[in-house]
């Protein structure tokens, strides 16, 4: 199934090669979780991340559905 993945800032480098923006459409297997998607993109687990699936906060165990839009960015705590 196809999904959309949006990565921000330093995470952009983990998008599939050839992606020319911060967004890519990729194919994943049915039942793929957010955690396994992040692992498959080789995003280090120790990086703090905010993850939204269709605008709703998600966690590693969240199951992804077809055409979901997944946004991942580091939380910005400074002020």
């Amino acid at each position: 199934m196809d999904i959309e993945i949006k990565l921000f800032f330093d995470l952009i480098k983990y998008l599939p090669s050839g992606t020319d923006s911060n967004t890519a459409r990729i194919s994943v297997a049915e039942g793929t979780t957010v955690g396994s998607l992040i692992d498959s993109l080789n995003i280090p687990s120790e990086i703090q991340k905010t993850i939204l699936v269709n605008g709703v906060k998600a966690c590693n165990e969240t199951i992804i559905n077809e055409n979901d839009s997944i946004a991942v960015f580091p939380p910005m705590a400074g002020g």
Partner: protein
């Protein structure tokens, strides 16, 4: 606690604010709305500096600004409320001094206490709007909970390096801060370019001025993600977390 003035604009104020009052739909009535407004600015640092300065020059009636810290030399690349002469003074008191010099018509209430679960009610008081200019999520979540429980809108922003995030929280219409960032990243010394805080602080100030004046629309249910290295502004739609312990339906 100062009350915002309910008096009509003075002749001096009509001149001072003329260039914004000629903005379509603004006029004297909108300016008087701003004059009657009370705002709580949490933090007098990188974000709190442009926020409070632009609220002041726009003629916001009362600015309650809260910070328990003192300016340090390493703060001065971004915290433009303060200068070398203020090192060692309290930041809220330093802010009052700067703001009242830039616009003596605005009332500033400096608050030198730390925002905690116990103090938040007393510190925020009765305000129309909260602006989150804090530097850590632990305190942000205390402020978020108070804002949700008391139906006070809150403008959140956070910065890092040359990037920032910002949203206008107005529950139950929008998700709350817990719906976006449930955790509290460990406090670390992070990189920050002063202009980054300037950009995000100015967006917070404009969001506040629009809300208080009733002009334009706000970033409700939308997280603005700004990348200053590429100058891209991204709008991410946001939805409530169904089981949010702060703003969820079960509460």
């Amino acid at each position: 606690m100062s009350k915002p003035s309910s008096k009509p604009l003075t002749e001096n104020e009509k001149i001072r604010y003329h260039r914004q009052m000629i903005f379509p739909g603004w006029g004297e009535k909108t300016q008087e709305k701003l004059k009657k407004s009370r705002v709580f600015v949490a933090g007098a640092g990188g974000l709190g500096s442009p926020v409070s300065l632009y609220l002041a020059v726009a003629g916001t009636g009362v600015i309650r600004i809260c910070d328990f810290g003192e300016p340090e030399l390493s703060n001065l690349n971004r915290q433009i409320l303060h200068d070398d002469s203020r090192i060692g003074k309290n930041k809220a008191l330093s802010a009052k001094e700067t703001i009242e010099r830039i616009n003596p018509d605005v009332k500033v209430e400096p608050l030198k206490d730390k925002i905690t679960r116990e103090s938040v009610s007393f510190l925020v008081g009765e305000v129309d709007l909260i602006i989150d200019c804090l530097d850590n999520f632990d305190t942000r979540h205390i402020l978020n909970r108070y804002a949700v429980q008391n139906s006070i809108p809150m403008i959140h922003a956070g910065v890092y390096g040359m990037q920032g995030q910002l949203t206008f929280i107005k529950t139950p219409e929008t998700p709350c801060l817990w719906c976006i960032n449930a955790g509290s990243p460990p406090p670390v010394v992070f990189p920050i370019v002063g202009a980054t805080a300037g950009v995000m602080g100015c967006v917070q100030a404009l969001e506040a001025i629009k809300y208080l004046s009733g002009i334009g629309s706000n970033l409700l249910g939308t997280l603005l993600i700004w990348d200053g290295t590429s100058m891209e502004f991204n709008h991410l739609p946001q939805k409530k977390t169904p089981d949010c312990p702060v703003c969820g339906d079960a509460l």
